[in-house]
Symmetry: C2
Subunit: 208 residues, 2 copies
DNA sequence: GGTGACATACTCCCATGGGGAGTACTCCCC
DNA sequence: GGGGAGTACTCCCCATGGGAGTATGTCACC
């Protein structure tokens, strides 16, 4: 590496957007917030630092433009940047990780009330539905022809994953709510859903 | 708050485990790694600090035991801790967040080769399968009667979610691989899967 | 009874990242 | 010509990630 920092995954995420077209940092953060953030959430303040790192690495060039007395910096990918991106794409990377405060609340639900749990499940469901509506709107936009047709095929793969996730979340929340509704108020002795456990066990047919 | 730090979500996660029974910090980190880490991943070094914070807040007590010349600290929840936990469970918390380096690679796949993408999809699928096997083993253990029967019902709810997620991931990886297999080597002009887009759009029936 | 290997039981520290506050200009509408 | 939304950033504190390091106890096996 040309000196100093080594590129992080976020660096390559930024580089990948620059591979599509040059962007100003502000546009870059917006692009990230509207698409990438769903599976690679990062703080906006840090995103502003990434393009500078890319320039230091020789992966991008910076061009300062002026509108009146306000300056903006537009970044573009270099051939070396494209090579680095291609090399990174050939590596595999960390598997998906889930982070859910709401699921944590479900996990500890026996220390609270039944209503608390139902509320949490309702919030999860509402979130999943909201995602579905947003994803549907984006899909409809693409069906009508979007801004980057050459990116539509991969976008569809990713969109399908996100849609599958939120759909599974919605279904799960409905299933769980139905079960919890039948629970007694005292959560210290609850009926066990043997069928659900058996279903999970059956996902490994080889398991003894 | 009794002074100093305010409890974080990780504090309540720790408190929730202490609500089940007293644990030493070492046991606590192991419990977290084997269950909680799936939906609330945190660095082990930080988990060692949490119980101390709980003591400072009056939510837990620490008892130092000795085995020979080695000391261990066992933490137990206080009534005040139980009240705080119950109050926290009545709040809703942040929705699920996904973090996937692999999905990021799919998103940027048009800058790499078709084989890179197939490799990434294979890695995702392998991870999902591995999860299914682990979850199945845990479910089978529970079906045979586990250590905390009073926790089994909520554990089943959470387990079902994790299982649904990994199952959806596995299916998606299979679906995506099949599509990508038919793509040409040149990824700059790819066929668009209109059916998939339509499916995503249809998840919002109200959408115009 | 000696000696690994593995489990238990932590502490410390640096760099990274999260997240919010703050600044200022530009464009457009009313 | 005044206000508000959008553009274009910078700065900084603190929490967290993640790895290195230290030491003791237990058990199997030769």
């Amino acid at each position: 590496m040309s000196r100093g920092q080594t590129p992080t995954t976020t660096s390559y995420a930024t580089l990948g957007l620059l591979a599509v077209q040059p962007w100003s940092t502000y546009e870059l953060t917006n692009q990230i917030r509207r698409s990438l953030a769903r599976f690679w959430p990062r703080a906006a303040s840090k995103l502003y630092e990434e393009p500078r790192k890319l320039v230091a690495l020789g992966y991008a060039t910076a061009e300062t433009q002026h509108q009146g007395r306000r300056r903006r910096t537009v970044y573009a990918i270099t051939p070396e940047g494209r090579r680095a991106l291609a090399a990174w794409l050939a590596t595999t990377g960390a598997p998906p990780a889930l982070e859910s405060e709401q699921l944590l609340r479900v996990f500890l639900a026996d220390q609270g009330t039944r209503q608390d749990l139902l509320d949490t499940l309702a919030a999860t469901r509402a979130w999943a539905r909201e995602r579905a509506v947003v994803d549907a709107a984006i899909a409809r936009e693409h069906l009508g022809g979007g801004p980057f047709p050459q990116r539509l095929a991969v976008n569809t793969l990713v969109g399908r994953y996100l849609s599958d996730m939120s759909e599974a979340t919605e279904r799960w929340a409905d299933w769980a709510s139905e079960i919890v509704r039948d629970w007694p108020d005292d959560l210290s002795e609850l009926p066990v859903d043997t069928d659900a456990l058996q279903m999970i066990a059956d996902r490994d047919p080889a398991g003894r």
